[in-house]
Amino acid sequence: MADNIKRITKMAGKHSVQFHEPPSIISVSSIAGKKEGEGPLGSYFDVVHEDPMVGKKTWEEAESEFMKQAAEKALEKANLKNTDIRYIIGGDLLGQLIATSFGIAELQIPMFGVFGACSTMGESMILGAMLVDGGYAKKVIAITSSHFAGAEKQFRYPLDYGNQRPYSASWTVTGSGAAVIACQKDAKNQGFNTDIIIPGATVGKIVDFGIKDNMNMGAAMVPAAFDTIKQNFEDFGVKPDYYDKIITGDLGYVGSEILVDMLKEKGYDISNNHMDCGVEIYDQNEQDTHAGGSGCSCSAITFAGYVMKRLRDKEWKRVLFVPTGALLSQVSFNEGKTIPGIAHGVIVESR
């Protein structure tokens, strides 16, 4: 069991990290779009915007606005100012991360821009936790966003183009999620609730099983999720039931089934405690979202809104949050390359 691992090193196994004084998540925020607000998790989000352009002129500006609001909301909920945050780690799906850059520029917080496609929330949280645990910051923000229209424009077709989407296609979530990660001791002294902690994480590597179909991203990302989850079990010496929930990002209906089968082959049965944000965020029948939700904010707002509530209410004690990303671009797809996947696993505990 993890408790028996000698706590003399912060490295756990081959790819994981364990924190001796686990950083706390002291505040989270979730800003969602209309479709997400109408979905099964609608009531869990802090803010739902009916207007997908949130009063802006372009989709990209709108996504920046979602992100700005997510950062401000997370600060507001913790009664913090932007000057209290030492670093912000964030990313999005757009080229050159323009949604992030324009979104958080006003906050004037030193920034690390990261790209992990839809796994960005996991990547940001791990890096944020590492910065805090390493003593490089007392408080950081991990943030990400995505926008349906912006993503369609970047990766697929103009919105009004008449095409048919296959059943395996997913729907990019419009929204932004943020988490304030703080030094546990420091935050506790300041009166924050430090019950939710990040004891460790497993950093993912690129895994590619040769899928080329960009209309079936779930299947493309499964091998990466499989690799990270398996690695997490091995690095920490635990079994699936160590976690109340193993939460993947956007494998969707198709991908979830494949993941469970794949892990079963290795002797890990996660069929009882697996959950996928892409599956949970929309009602497949009512909202015509085919394979489920995707995008950076799919995992981010589901985690910030729904998962964090379950953790705070002590319904779940420990979860493994594994957002998954597909590292392709329009160019790589056109040039006939495969879709490499990546998944980052964050252990989140409620004490």
């Binding site: 919105l159 009004d160 008449g162 040769g210 079936n216 494949i258 079963k264 082959e265 290795k266």
Partner: protein, 166 residues
């Protein structure tokens, strides 16, 4: 080939050491587990929608002829009308809904081409008249224009050679 008929199991995928074989196995496994649309149902929908559009076209030709136009002019006006209707419906957001149901039924007639030009025009307006609309308006229809003209040229050449030989 016999290999392609055999069903792939997850066990095959996970135990396969050779990367290429594993990928092939995985691709097949995904193929098996991914739900697909009923091809038959798609064809029926496309037939109905495409048929209705073409019927509308014929009605328009008859209408214009009854208004005094000769056959060629009536056909021209018919095309103009269908293109106009596609662009209008694209602009107000209805075309996409029709196309989702109709598939090839909306894509194959001239309506598909009109929509493929109108949709990017709407999308890229924000990037300016020159670099936005100007550069990107033909992103989807580009291949149709290029290869349509090119194949006409090839056939023209073939026909020319044929007349020379005759």
């Amino acid at each position: 080939m016999a290999n392609q008929q055999k069903k792939s199991t997850m066990s095959d995928v996970v135990r396969e050491k050779d990367v290429e074989k594993r990928n092939e196995s995985y691709k097949q496994y995904v193929e098996q587990t991914t739900p697909k649309f009923s091809c038959f149902k798609n064809c029926v929908n496309a037939f109905i929608v495409g048929g209705l559009i073409c019927t509308l076209g014929q009605f328009l030709v008859n209408l214009y002829m009854s208004m005094g136009a000769d056959k060629e002019t009536a056909k021209l006006y018919n095309i103009l009308t269908l293109v106009f209707l596609s662009i209008l419906l694209t602009g107000i957001g209805i075309y996409q809904k029709l196309a989702k149901f109709g598939g090839a039924g909306t894509l194959v007639p001239i309506t598909g081409f009109a929509n493929s030009v109108a949709a990017p025009a709407v999308e890229y307006k924000q990037e300016g008249q020159v670099f936005g609309i100007g550069c990107k308006i033909f992103t989807i229809s580009g291949p149709v224009i290029l290869y349509g003209i090119f194949s006409s040229w090839v056939l023209g050449l073939v026909y020319y050679i044929y007349t020379l030989i005759k």
